[in-house]
Each structure stands twice: as structure tokens, then as C-alpha cells.
């Protein structure tokens, strides 16, 4: 579809400039898309591996804990955990990758996780908790890379739309319009020329009479 502009020299010139800009923008975006895609591919493999690993470990850790706590009633457990020995803080920072702001999480655990009475708990109970503590750090890491993956996916999607809009819509449209204007101008030129010739003929005929 050609653009709705008047076919004159001014617009022709303007469109030709726009075409140059559009082509340069298209190239840049294409490069960005390729780079995003490359990084994204690497990311997928890491995320997939991590997710599988962490999920498996978490399930086994939860099972262990469940067995270890079986000697305790629910009330006793709440009593034991009434004063958590660990304070957890999560600090969020932002990293810049290309034009994306990627959050990066850092977990700080303070204090000793084993802050309950040893009287009623078993050694397995301690071990299960220690394992969960380690897992928590990995879970946060997983959160970070999964978020990164999602943000990347979104950006790739957006970039792809832009690239396609330029490649299949804007650039062909501009090219078509330029062609149309050029042809129209040539036609006007030819029309002018024949009219001049005709006028000249008429003048010469008049002089002969």
C-alpha cells in the first residue's frame, strides 16, 4: 500500500530520506534481535537444567523434612519455630543488559538456623533444615534467571515485531510511494513537453498564415 502523500518533489525527497533512516533502523534492530536470541538460547539451557535440578532436590528435601518431623505434632513444630533463628533479607539490584533492566537478587541469611531445643528434635531434622537452607539460595538464583529469561523473551518478541513491521510494511510502502511519485513526476514532465511542442507548432502555423 502506498502512503497517502501528494506526489511532488518535496515529498519525494522527504520519503527518500525516511527510507534511509528506516533501513538503518531495520539493520540495527535486526542485529539487536540476533544478539538477544543468542543470549536467550544460552539462557534457556541453564534455566531448564537448573529448574530440573532444583525441583528434584526440593522435593527430596521436603520429603526428608516431612519424615524428620513426623515425631513432632503440628503444635510442637510451631512452638519450635516460634523464634526463627535466621533473618533473611533479599536485596534487589538492577543489571543492564542491552536496553533491558534485569533484576538481580542477593540473599543474606543471618543467624543460626538451628535455634530450637535439641531435646525433642533428631539429627535428621537438623540436616533436613540445613539442606533446605542451601536450597533457598538456589531457589532465589532460579528466580533470577527465570525472570531474566522472561524479560528477554518479551524483548525479543517486541523487537521481532518492530523488525517485521519495518521489513514487511514500512520499507516496502516507502519504496512503492517513491516509485509512484517518481513516475507521476515523469508523466507530468512528459505532459508538459508535449504541450510545449504543440504550442510551438500552433505558433508556427499562425506565423505562416
Amino acid at each position: 500500500m502506498k502512503l497517502a502523500v501528494n506526489p511532488n518533489r518535496m515529498n519525494n525527497l522527504r520519503l527518500r530520506r525516511r527510507l534511509v533512516v528506516a533501513k538503518r533502523g531495520h539493520k540495527l534492530l535486526k542485529d539487536k534481535q540476533d544478539e538477544l536470541m543468542r543470549q536467550f538460547m544460552e539462557l534457556i539451557d541453564t534455566v531448564k537444567g537448573e529448574r530440573n535440578r532444583v525441583e528434584k532436590r526440593l522435593i527430596s528435601a521436603l520429603k526428608r523434612f516431612s519424615i524428620a518431623r513426623s515425631t513432632l505434632s503440628r503444635e510442637e513444630l510451631y512452638e519450635l519455630f516460634a523464634l526463627p533463628g535466621v533473618t533473611t533479607t533479599l536485596s534487589v539490584r538492577q543489571k543492564q543488559v542491552l536496553n533491558l533492566k534485569i533484576p538481580s537478587f542477593e540473599l543474606t541469611l543471618k543467624g543460626d538456623i538451628i535455634s530450637y531445643s535439641f531435646l525433642r528434635t533428631t539429627a535428621e531434622f537438623d540436616l533436613a533444615l540445613l539442606e533446605l537452607k542451601e536450597l533457598l539460595e538456589e531457589l532465589v538464583k532460579l528466580a533470577e534467571i527465570e525472570k531474566k529469561m522472561q524479560l528477554f523473551a518479551d524483548e525479543i518478541d517486541k523487537t521481532r515485531r518492530r523488525v517485521n513491521a519495518l521489513e514487511y510494511k514500512l520499507i516496502p510502502d516507502i519504496e512503492e510511494t517513491i516509485k509512484f511519485i517518481t513516475m507521476k513526476l515523469e508523466e507530468v514532465e512528459r505532459g508538459n513537453l508535449t504541450r510545449l511542442m504543440r504550442v510551438k507548432d500552433m505558433l508556427e502555423e499562425k506565423r505562416k498564415e
Binding site: 536467550f40 525441583e55 521436603l62 526463627p84 533473618t87 533484576p103 537478587f105 543467624g111 533446605l132 531457589l139
Partner: protein, 104 residues
């Protein structure tokens, strides 16, 4: 962390903020409150409540914060986490390339 009580219990001593939910409705309410407060960087949700929260989770998936992580509960993974990764890849690539890779 949102989930059923049984899965959350061990995390109590790790200093996390726990929001046990007993049914889907409750989980939805808690999730809405947590995301609105904007005080959390990472939210863990057990897979049991994923179907109920899917719409909300997908809505914030492409915002910088917070990060929502699905965790399996004690009964095992239901594969929602991986399915999620797959959906994300599909969005980025415009097609399902993980599936293709498996067929090779």
C-alpha cells in the same frame, strides 16, 4: 511464599514470610495483596495453586519485578515450571523450538 501449610512449614525457620493458603480462593486473595504491596522481589508459589493464579502470574511475568517462581510441593512436580519455560521460549521464538530439539 504462598502454598499449602505442609510445604511451607520447613521454611518458617528460614525467615521467609509465609502465607499459607488452604484453597484457591484464598491463594488468589493473598497473591493479589502481595503483588499490590510491591514489597517483595521474589514470590514462591507452590504448583498446587498455579492453575488458580495462572492469569495473574502471566500478567506480571514480563514486568521487571516481582519474580514468581513455581515450586513443587511434597507430592512431586507437576511439570508446570518446565511448561512455563516452554511457553516463554515459544513467545520469544514465535514457535516451539524446545519440542523440535527433542525430536532430533
Amino acid at each position: 511464599m504462598i502454598g499449602d501449610e505442609e510445604t511451607l512449614l520447613p521454611f518458617l525457620t528460614l525467615g521467609l514470610e509465609l502465607y499459607p493458603a488452604s484453597d484457591d480462593k484464598e491463594a488468589e486473595r493473598i497473591f493479589a495483596r502481595i503483588t499490590r504491596s510491591r514489597e517483595f522481589g521474589v514470590i514462591f508459589v507452590t504448583e498446587r495453586f498455579y492453575p488458580a493464579l495462572k492469569k495473574e502470574i502471566d500478567r506480571i511475568a514480563y514486568e521487571p519485578l516481582p519474580a514468581v517462581v513455581l515450586i513443587p510441593d511434597i507430592s512431586g512436580s507437576r511439570g508446570f515450571g518446565l511448561a512455563n519455560i516452554r511457553a516463554t521460549v515459544k513467545k520469544a521464538a514465535g514457535r516451539d523450538i524446545i519440542g523440535e530439539a527433542k525430536e532430533e
